[in-house]
Amino acid sequence: MKGQINVLPFIMIFVVIVIGATSFYFYTKTSEVSIAISTIEYDNFIRGINQRINEYAFSKKQGSSESFSFNIPKNMEKICFIDKDNEMNQFSNPELDLKRNLETDKNIFFEPNEYPSTKLEFFEVSDNPLCIKPINNKISLKFESLGNKTKIIATNEKEIEEDKCIALSYNGDVTEKIDVVFLGLGYDNSKELTNDAFIYITNIFKDVYPINSNFNKFNFYQINEPVENCQITNYIKCNNFEVKKQASVCPNDYIIILTNRNKILNIASPIRSSAIQNLIKVNTADNILVLAHEFGHGFGDLADEYVDDTYYSKFDLKVEDLPNCDKLPCESWDNVNGTSCYKGCTLSNYYRPTKNSIMNFYFKEGGDIFGPVNEQILIEKFNLYK
C-alpha cells in the first residue's frame, strides 16, 4: 500500500544502536573493574615494599638479607627506584629523567604513567637508578639491612633494565656544551664500547690541540643498545633516521659510531671511516687520528687538504667554501704564523697552509696536528660554547 511507512529499517537501526550501547556499557564496566584491581595491586605492592624496607632497616640484624617476590599490576611495565641522597646517572632514561625533574619529592616511578609516583624512605639501591621490568607480573628484590637503611638489589638480571644513556664525562649544562654521544657497531658488550670510547676521549679529545684546551666544553655519553641500521661495505653506511632516533635518548650535538674492527681483517678488507655533518663513523682498526680528522670535517667544516682531482674536479668546488684552502697567494692566512702556501688542497690548483696536518695525511709524519689555520677555525667555533 502506498504511503505506508516501512518500519523495518528503523528497527534494524535501533537494534544496531542498542547492541553498540550495550557493548560500550560492558566495556566501560570491565575497564572500571580492571582499573580497580590494578589500584589494589598497586597499593599492595607499595605497602609490601615499604614493609620490607622498614623491616630490614630497623628490625633485622645489620648485614642480613633475603629475597622476596612481589606481584605487580598486570599492565605495569617498569618500576624505577631512585636514591636521591647518592650519586646517580643523570641521563639514564629520558622519560625517567623528565619525571624525576617534575616530581622532585618522589623516588619511585612507574610506567605507564597512570600509576602515580611515590616516595618511600630509608632505602638505597644497588644501581642508581634501579629500573626493573617485571616478568609475568612479578619482580624479585633482595633486601639487605644496612643498619638504619635497607639496600634494594635486583636479583633477576633479566629484569634489570640497562640505562639507555650513560654519561662518560660530564662538564655541565647540555645547552651550553658540545654533547658527544658514542654508539657501537659490532661490539660484544657495552663494556668494550666504553673502553674504546675512553681511548678516543683520552687520545683525541684530551690530547689534540685545540680540542684538548676546550675539553671542559664537552660532555660525553654512551648508548649501550647496539646500532642495527648500518651496513658495512667499503665504508659504514647507516640509516640516518634510525641512528638519530636511537641517539635521541642522550644529548647529541655530535654522534660517533664506533665500528669494532679487527686490524688484520681490516688490512685484507679495509673499510673507511667517514663524516656526514654531525654523524661521524669510525673504523676502530684505522689510525686513531682519523677521529680528529672526521671531527675537523663535522665540527669545523674543514676540507680535506689532500688532493683527489679525479673525484673533486667533477664538482664545481669554490675555494670560498673550503675554509682551510685558498688560491695563490694564500691571502686568507697571510698574517698567521707558521703557515706557508703549499700546492694542493682538495684540488691540485688550490693551496693549503701547512705541509701536512690532521686534515691531510694524518697517518704520516707531521699529520698529528691541525696546524695554525685549522686551529683558528676550530677555536672560533669552540668560542660559541661555554
Binding site: L102, K244, A247, S274, Q277, Y306
Partner: protein
C-alpha cells in the same frame, strides 16, 4: 587524571626546561634540491643545540596554531659524505656526493605546534605536526563506515520488503 596531567606537563616541558623534552625526529627525502618530509617519530629525548648554523641554506620553521614561529634554524642537507682511510700504502680518502638521499633532523616538539615549513628563498614544503590530525581522519573514516553500513542495511531491507510486496 594523573596521566593527563603528566601529558600536559610533558607538552609544556620544552618551554619550561632545557631538556629532555618532547621531540620529533624527522625523516626527510632530498632529491636535487627538492625536499619532502616523509615521516616524524615523536618521543621524549634530546635535540642538538644548533649553536653552529650555516649562514645560508635551508630554513626550517616550526609554526604555531597562531602562525607564529616557535623555533627555527638553518641547515644544509648532507650532500657530501667525507670518506677516509689508509691501507698502509695508499690514501683511501675521498668524498661521496649524492643528489638523492634520505636524511634526518631532530627538532623540539611544542604543544601548540601546527606545521613545519622548509624554505630556501621560496617555500619548499609543509608538514603537519598536529597530533590530532590522524585521530580526526580516523573519526571521519569511522563515521563514513557507519553511514555506509546503515545505507546497506536500509537498501537490503527495502529490497526485501519490495519483493514481499510483489
Amino acid at each position: 587524571m594523573k596521566k593527563t596531567l603528566f601529558l600536559i606537563i610533558l607538552i609544556m616541558f620544552p618551554m619550561v626546561y632545557a631538556q629532555p623534552s618532547n621531540i620529533n625526529v624527522l625523516n626527510i627525502k632530498y632529491n636535487n634540491e627538492d625536499i619532502k618530509v616523509l615521516e616524524k617519530f615523536n618521543t621524549i629525548g634530546y635535540y642538538p643545540d644548533r649553536l653552529i648554523q650555516p649562514e645560508e641554506g635551508y630554513l626550517l620553521k616550526i609554526m604555531s596554531t597562531e602562525n607564529t614561529i616557535l623555533y627555527s634554524f638553518r641547515f644544509i642537507p648532507p650532500v657530501n659524505e667525507y670518506l677516509d682511510g689508509w691501507d698502509g700504502n695508499y690514501n683511501l680518502g675521498g668524498i661521496q656526493t649524492a643528489n638523492k638521499f634520505n636524511f634526518s633532523l631532530t627538532i623540539p616538539s611544542f604543544d601548540n605546534e601546527k606545521e613545519l615549513i622548509i624554505e630556501n628563498g621560496k617555500e619548499l614544503t609543509k608538514f603537519s605536526l598536529q597530533k590530532e590530525a590522524k585521530i580526526k581522519l580516523f573519526a571521519w573514516l569511522l563515521i563514513a563506515l557507519l553511514i555506509g553500513i546503515l545505507l546497506i542495511i536500509v537498501k537490503e531491507v527495502r529490497k526485501k520488503s519490495t519483493k514481499l510486496k510483489n
